[in-house]
């Protein structure tokens, strides 16, 4: 029974992980950018929620929307001002400069919000619903519903809308897409903004569950990369699967083994995947040696 409880808790967190993962895999897959600052967007999402909801008293759901919108704004500027000029540079240069930017954003956040960890009190009642011996906290129920909703929304965006089709075309073959008249610059900006929006949404969902401080982006970032690689670069399904898998494994690991090593689970899975199937669970295996 407690096993099922762990699984349920894992699914809740996994939902948020899936969101960060989808956001990063889209950016990684479509723009081929290794955005080490992705975790910082998660952190900013949580902090903006804190500012709007806890400090300014705006309605919770509205605060979530505003927080996501704010981070999307930051992301949009970031993409235009920073990522675009770096497009021609080597992957090492991009990676290292993204690390520099993530360090920068972390420390600016620290200067703005102070390094003192904050907590966002959930607007939901703190008593859990019980059903057949299992506990369901309202906040966590909301997380899973919102996460699934956003995943569905993103799926519809990619599959049914014109811009979604353009994004998928760009992912499959950049040259062909641009020859067909797709404005790559616009697709990149749009992709990035959606990507960081998803990361921010995960931040707003998990913010009230865990504490908020300037360095939560670090772990979120590393887990996002683990999820994306385990699932397969650019694979939407992969990111969702890996996100939920990671959430569940972490929960089981923390429950049955030790909570200290919880964060190591993602890295260990990552290392295993990198050794045996670097293209990920849903990635395509290449022909080259």
């Amino acid at each position: 029974m407690i096993f099922v409880q762990y699984v349920i808790n894992g699914i809740v967190i996994g939902g948020a992980y899936a969101l960060i993962g989808i956001g990063l895999t889209m950016v990684f897959g479509i723009m081929r950018v290794v955005n080490f600052a992705h975790g910082e967007m998660y952190m900013l999402g949580a902090y903006f929620l804190f500012t709007f909801f806890t400090k300014m008293g705006v309605n919770f759901y509205l605060s979530m929307l505003l927080a996501i919108a704010a981070v999307m704004g930051v992301g949009g500027i970031y993409e235009k001002a920073i990522l675009k000029p770096l497009r021609r540079r080597s992957i090492e240069t991009v990676m290292l400069s993204m690390i520099g930017f993530s360090l920068f954003i972390q420390n600016i956040a620290m200067l703005i919000w102070t390094p003192v960890p904050e907590s966002i009190t959930s607007p939901f009642p703190l008593t859990a619903y019980t059903l057949g011996g299992l506990y369901f906290l309202p906040q966590r129920i909301m997380v899973i519903f919102v996460a699934l909703f956003l995943v569905l929304l993103t799926h519809l965006l990619l599959k049914k809308t014109k811009i979604g089709k353009a994004m998928r075309a760009t992912f499959q073959d950049l040259e062909a897409a641009s020859l067909m008249g797709i404005k790559i610059d616009r697709i990149y900006s749009f992709t990035f903004v959606i990507g960081v929006g998803l990361a921010a949404s995960a931040g707003t969902l998990l913010g009230p569950i865990f504490t908020v401080h300037p360095y939560i982006g670090n772990l979120a970032n590393l887990k996002a990369f683990a999820i994306v690689i385990i699932g397969g670069l650019g694979s939407f399904t992969g990111a969702i699967t890996a996100g939920f898998l990671l959430g569940v494994f972490e929960s089981l690991g923390a429950g049955y083994v030790s909570s200290g090593y919880q964060d190591a689970i993602g890295f260990i899975l990552l290392i295993i995947i990198l050794i045996y199937r670097p293209t990920g669970l849903f990635g395509k295996v290449g022909q080259r040696r």
Binding site: V34, L86, R89, I91, E92, T93, M95, L96, S97, I99, G100, F101, L103, F104, Q106, N107, I108, M110, L111, N218, L222, F225, A226, I229, S258, G260, Y261, D263, A264, F267, I268, L270, I271, L274, I275, P278
Partner: protein
């Protein structure tokens, strides 16, 4: 005697007479740290500068070296020298493991793998409390001594002897780097960076050379870790900090990757810069981040390269 050799000799001379000129313990402390970081930078330079593989997990080897050396000293009560050799071997083995795990990976995948491995090691350091005392860390890690029989004991516990110990190891590793690079091994390393497919097509076993370079690099980094532990006499899982990995990369890039003196210059710059940035107080790391960004984007061939370019321009006009 060409210009590069003269500069190298000047550095050598300068470092030998440094303690005579600078008696202030703070300057000695900085010099020792620079020396330890120089070893780290030389080690990463082999991997990043010559074979062209970016690693953001060099703290893994540094940390393992520090812990292995300290644990041998504290638990087995053996002379520090043996602990240092153990640190070298342990890091070398870790390097071999990393190379075997990551040999197919290049670019972003390799970087992420190195980060992942370091994070796992950090978590082990934090959680395997029985061995590592977790976040409390290991204390009272003594300095090496040499017993000279009737002549007494050389105690490296003081700054000046420790400084010369560090310097001699830096000189040794610098020489090792020089010899490796100017051999067929060096040409193989460089060929991996320049064009791996072409290298394979003329019979260079890139996998073999990557394993060699990672093992040598890891071993040197492990020695650096050991020197660090026995100098500051206290270590905790912070030796696996991401910042160390990033800072070493900045040393190699800022000093000039793929050059012999580059890591030395980079070590001097990037040991001192975080210190100088203390004047900014809380904004310290934000400024550091800006420096990282500026160098990576605008000075990928190292600060010295662009400074000399600038000076050359001045001369022409």
């Amino acid at each position: 005697m060409n210009r590069d050799r003269i500069i190298t000799l000047l550095f050598l001379l300068g470092s030998l007479i440094y303690p005579i000129l600078m008696r202030d313990p703070y300057y000695m402390h900085m010099a020792i740290l620079i020396g330890i970081y120089a070893l780290l930078a030389i080690s990463l330079n082999l991997l990043l500068g010559y074979t062209g593989q970016l690693s953001l997990g060099h703290a893994a080897f540094f940390g393992v070296g520090a812990y292995v050396s300290s644990l041998f000293y504290l638990n087995l009560k053996i002379p520090v020298w043996i602990g240092m050799v153990m640190a070298l071997i342990a890091s070398g083995i870790l390097g071999y493991i990393v190379a075997k795990l990551a040999f197919k990976l290049r670019g972003a995948y390799f970087v992420i793998m190195t980060i992942g491995i370091t994070e796992v090691l950090k978590l082990v350091g934090l959680n395997w409390v029985d061995l590592t005392k977790g976040p409390m860390g290991l204390t009272d890690i003594g300095a090496p001594t040499i017993h000279l029989g009737g002549l007494g004991t050389l105690d490296f516990g003081d700054k000046i002897p420790y400084y010369y110990l560090v310097v001699s190891l830096v000189v040794l590793c610098f020489y090792l780097q020089y010899r490796l690079v100017s051999s067929s091994y060096g040409r193989a390393f460089i060929s991996i960076r320049e064009n791996e497919d072409l290298a394979e097509s003329v019979g260079i076993n890139c996998y073999k050379y990557l394993v060699i370079v990672v093992m040598v690099s890891a071993s040197i980094a492990g020695v650096a870790g050991s020197l660090y532990a026995h100098y500051v006499s206290f270590i905790d899982p912070g030796v696996f900090a991401f910042f160390i990995s990033v800072n070493v990369v900045m040393m190699v890039i800022g000093g000039g990757q793929g050059t012999l003196m580059g890591p030395i210059i980079g070590a001097i710059l990037f040991t001192l810069i975080p210190e100088w940035l203390r004047v900014f107080g809380d904004a310290r790391m934000a400024v550091y981040a800006v420096i990282v960004i500026v160098i990576v984007i605008f000075m990928p061939r190292g600060i010295l390269f662009y400074v000399t370019q600038l000076l050359n321009l001045r001369k022409k006009t």
